[in-house]
């Protein structure tokens, strides 16, 4: 048992160093210097590209520290996100790395959240707090006491419960603490004392908690949280990450609710939940706006 732990510990260390290296090399385009397995699979925003394309060709800067990291040692995977710049413009980069048995990276999925992006299906300006995302989220990586520690299965259930509850409107499905903050693209979107999102009109929903928002119908415009996958779990820290799409059908004829979007879109998200004592205590997510019905991999699009 101790031997396994030692191996896991080592794997965690080099997974972390690979993620550091990814962000270090990005602004110079030096992807060849990563410990890459032959036949590595690389994707950016759901599209299979050659390693070196996309953000690898355009990045001009990357933060030295990242906001969120989930390290799943047994699965040989790490997911992390932080700030980058692309021709001087802020963007958020999420990276998932998977290593093979020889310790080489054989899968790279990336999610680049760009603002004022021509390809965005959201015509407004997306919210971003780049400063908040420039460093680690306080407390997120704290170890959870053994007695409060969830299993990997419990972590997945908590994440799915949240997504099921938000997309169905059934608040009873969501195991969330009343004081749970939710940070999306660096901006807190629940329990706001000021009752508004930065630069936006006052909105009473922003003062509500996660469960209350669902109870009051704030999330009724979400039709589904689909194509969930890429679950990474770290029970010692009570962390689980999942990627998925929120489907927003838009201003559907005959629907009585208030849709925040006129045209339909699908919102890709990487979302991390910190769970302790059976309840979600903190939520961090990065989100963007893609065409309605978008899929994570080209195979799924066919």
């Amino acid at each position: 048992m101790g031997e396994v732990s030692q191996e896991l510990q080592e794997r965690r260390a080099y997974l972390g160093s690979y993620a550091d290296r990814y962000f270090e090399l990005l602004p110079s385009g030096g992807h060849q210097q990563l410990p890459i397995a032959p036949g590595v699979v690389f994707s950016e925003n759901g599209q299979r590209l050659r390693l070196g394309q996309g953000l690898w060709a355009t990045a001009t800067g990357a933060a030295r520290t990242r906001a969120v990291t989930v390290l799943d040692g047994p699965a040989g995977q790490i997911a992390t996100w932080g700030m980058v710049t692309e021709a001087g413009h802020d963007a958020i980069l999420g990276v998932r790395l998977k290593v093979d048995d020889e310790g080489l990276i054989d899968e790279i999925d990336t999610f680049v959240v760009r603002f004022n992006d021509m390809a965005s299906t959201f015509s407004g300006s997306g919210l971003l707090d780049a400063q908040r995302l420039a460093g680690p989220t306080p407390g997120l990586l704290d170890l959870v006491d053994e007695g409060d520690r969830p299993s990997a299965a419990e972590l997945r259930r908590a994440a799915d419960g949240y997504l099921d509850g938000v997309s169905s409107g059934e608040v009873g499905l969501i195991p969330v603490a009343d004081d749970c903050p939710r940070i999306e693209n660096g901006v807190q979107t629940v329990l706001r004392a000021d009752g508004l999102l930065p630069g936006r009109a006052p909105n009473p929903a922003t003062a509500m908690g996660v469960a209350q928002q669902v109870r009051e119908g704030v999330t009724r415009h979400i039709a589904a949280a689909r194509d969930r996958g890429m679950y990474l779990t770290d029970p010692s820290r009570g962390l689980v990450m999942v990627r998925f799409f929120f489907d927003h059908p838009g201003a559907v004829r005959g629907w009585q609710g208030r849709a925040p979007f006129i045209g339909p879109n699908s919102m890709p998200a990487w979302e991390v939940f910190k769970v302790r004592g059976g309840l979600i205590r903190h939520i961090e997510a990065i989100i963007a706006w893609f065409p309605y019905g978008y899929r994570w991999t080209p195979e799924e699009q066919r």
């Binding site: 299979r48 060709a57 309605y292």
Partner: protein, 269 residues
């Protein structure tokens, strides 16, 4: 029956089918083609026009430009491909009025001596796409007075920049709006287009000299060390439907619609 909206396979009845509240009385451009074979008549028809989503009379509604391509086998529709352009072009707040009216120039029937075969039409359109992708005006069989309309705005031979916001004009975009199709290419203003891929020639009408190609323009963005400045910052792939009118072997008019999507995206066909 397969249905896509903006490259995504979704259930028919969802997407724009669920949100549209109004459609213009006429389409700006149309092309159709029929072919007769052992299985019966196979047809393709495609075109575009303006629609409205959401509440039509207040701020909760928004105009969009809808392109539709239908393929029929016998009397049944077997393919429906749609592209919905929800962003007004070139930084404008609204779509140009031109899109509410049929393009008479495109609909005009050619004199028999000016017509080419389907292959001739495809060759001319391919030459244009190759020339744009490779910055080689010599590949483009376009007449000097060839007009190009993109999402309702005239992007060549438009010295007064009619319809364009001042912000776009001052950026010097397209190498100069007053130039013609080939002259713009000679300015190397289109170097930011990396490739024009996944070309599908979906309909041709030899009587009118029309051919429609659906394709993606790949824009890698502001690539480090590229040696030129891309007007597009972040990588994207633009889904373009481009309709060419060819007479006497030369492209006389181009009308196109398109929208930007994540870099590398496919059309779903």
């Amino acid at each position: 029956m397969r249905f896509t909206e903006n490259g995504q396979r979704i259930a028919i009845g969802t997407g724009l089918w669920a949100t549209a509240t109004r459609a213009a009385d006429s389409r700006a451009a149309m092309v159709s083609e029929e072919a007769y074979g052992p299985g019966g008549t196979a047809g393709s028809v495609a075109g575009w026009g303006m629609i409205t989503e959401g509440a039509a009379e207040d701020a909760d509604g928004a105009d969009a430009l809808l392109g539709v391509r239908l393929r029929t086998t016998g009397k049944a529709i077997s393919e429906i491909e749609t592209v919905v352009v929800r962003r007004a072009p070139f930084g404008r707040a609204t779509f140009p009025e031109r899109l509410l009216e049929p393009s008479a120039a495109m609909a005009r029937i050619l004199e028999p001596t000016d017509r080419g075969t389907r292959e001739d039409l495809v060759r001319a359109a391919s030459g244009y796409l190759d020339g744009v992708a490779r910055d080689d005006a010599g590949l483009i069989p376009a007449a000097d007075d060839c007009i190009r309309i993109e999402n309702g705005l005239q992007t060549v031979l438009n010295p007064d920049a009619d319809g364009f916001p001042a912000t776009f004009v001052s950026s010097g975009g397209l190498g100069g709006l007053g130039l013609g199709v080939r002259a713009q290419i000679r300015t190397l203003a289109f170097r930011y287009i990396e490739d024009i891929r996944d070309r599908r020639f979906v309909a041709a009408d030899t009587a009118r000299g029309l051919v429609l190609v659906c394709c993606f323009f790949d824009h890698p963005g502001k690539v480090r060390g590229a040696g030129f400045d891309s007007p597009i910052v972040a990588p994207n792939s633009m889904l373009i439907w481009e309709l060419f009118k060819v007479a006497g072997g030369l492209i006389r008019r181009i009308e196109a619609i398109g929208a930007a999507f994540p870099y590398g995206m496919r059309a779903g066909w």
